[in-house]
Subunit: 203 residues, 2 copies
């Protein structure tokens, strides 16, 4: 049985929970407290030298990290990941967009606000993150105004990747008022059977 | 025939050139000048709304962006990308590591230094980037001290992704003196047949 080391309130970890729920993959969830530096212990670093959650434990001494790599591994052979060709590459295109152009703004602003309580010495950084976050939201809005999901005509792991931090972006100070297509897409994903709320009780 | 919109001096673009060279994929290279805002014209934005190079043109109105997504697309079915399972997911693990924990430090420090000439108002940011860059290099060194390549026993696109900015990291102020395994890995990749130098003349 898989073990997932993570925190349900982290969007990167929530991605894994949501896919596992939708695919009915049994697993054990081990809560890791990043505020208590639990990703920097020797035992954690032996699983992921990059000191980040989530980590997927596959078996004795086999670990996979990076949320989007874990999603690709788990979704192989399911409707959440096209088998090959351009559609499969487009899933990755949106996942790399998420990690480079979305997460560093929206997730980091949320972290500064929600986890750290928006301290004065991070206020300038927090406000600077708003610009990049809205750029990413505008790119998403443009795409979602033309199609119900990011790749193909049904949900894929690219939707899961972008949903994770977007659906809680208000916690980072982002209003989705000017993004009607994003709002509709969020509702569409939340309405799917077996949707799980981002809450530590569901970990 | 493929068209690539890019700049050979950008590591993200160089990745595509190197793989195409190693696989013998014919293509036309279209130089894009980011300093002249050529990624922000209407015609460029219609290819990639996220306004970044590289972009791969596959045919009439079909475009793929994000360097690592393009690599996965081109490498499908070749020795540079394991067919499935954990090895394939590990390739992605290292590529997401590159985009989140490596590029934003090493490539951005290089950009501030090489493209902008290290202006005074970016000096603090440049120096802050050194810390994150060395963290990434330490994670790479640990892995490469145990194996010749990042995934499996031969070069994959994960090596190409990490090589692109690492082999010119001195241009961002990073010395590789304390990373003997990274140095050996760079020499190993450069010695492969059909290696191409990162130069605009080779675009």
């Amino acid at each position: 049985m898989y073990r997932v080391y993570g925190d349900m309130l982290s969007g990167n970890c929530f991605k894994i929970k949501l896919l596992m729920q939708w695919l009915g993959i049994e697993h054990e969830w081990i809560h890791v407290d990043i505020m208590a530096s639990e990703t920097h212990t020797d035992s954690f670093l032996s699983m992921n030298a990059n000191a980040k959650i989530p980590v997927l434990e596959l078996g004795t001494s086999q670990y996979l990290w990076e949320s989007n790599a874990i999603l690709n591994f788990l979704a192989e052979g399911t409707p959440y990941l096209p088998e090959s060709g351009l559609l499969r590459a487009q899933v990755l295109q949106w996942q790399f967009f998420e990690q480079y152009s979305h997460e560093p703004y929206i997730a980091v602003a949320r972290y500064i606000n929600k986890y750290l309580g928006l301290p004065a010495d991070r206020a300038a950084e927090y406000h600077a993150k708003q610009v990049g976050g809205h750029k990413a939201l505008a790119v998403m809005e443009r795409e979602l105004s033309r199609s119900a999901f990011f790749v193909g005509s049904s949900p894929t792991i690219s939707d899961i990747s972008l949903f994770a931090y977007t659906h809680v972006s208000h916690e980072g100070g982002f209003s989705l008022e000017s993004y009607p297509s994003i709002q509709a897409w969020i509702s569409r994903l939340k309405a799917l059977p077996n949707y799980v709320e981002m809450s530590r009780e569901n970990g």
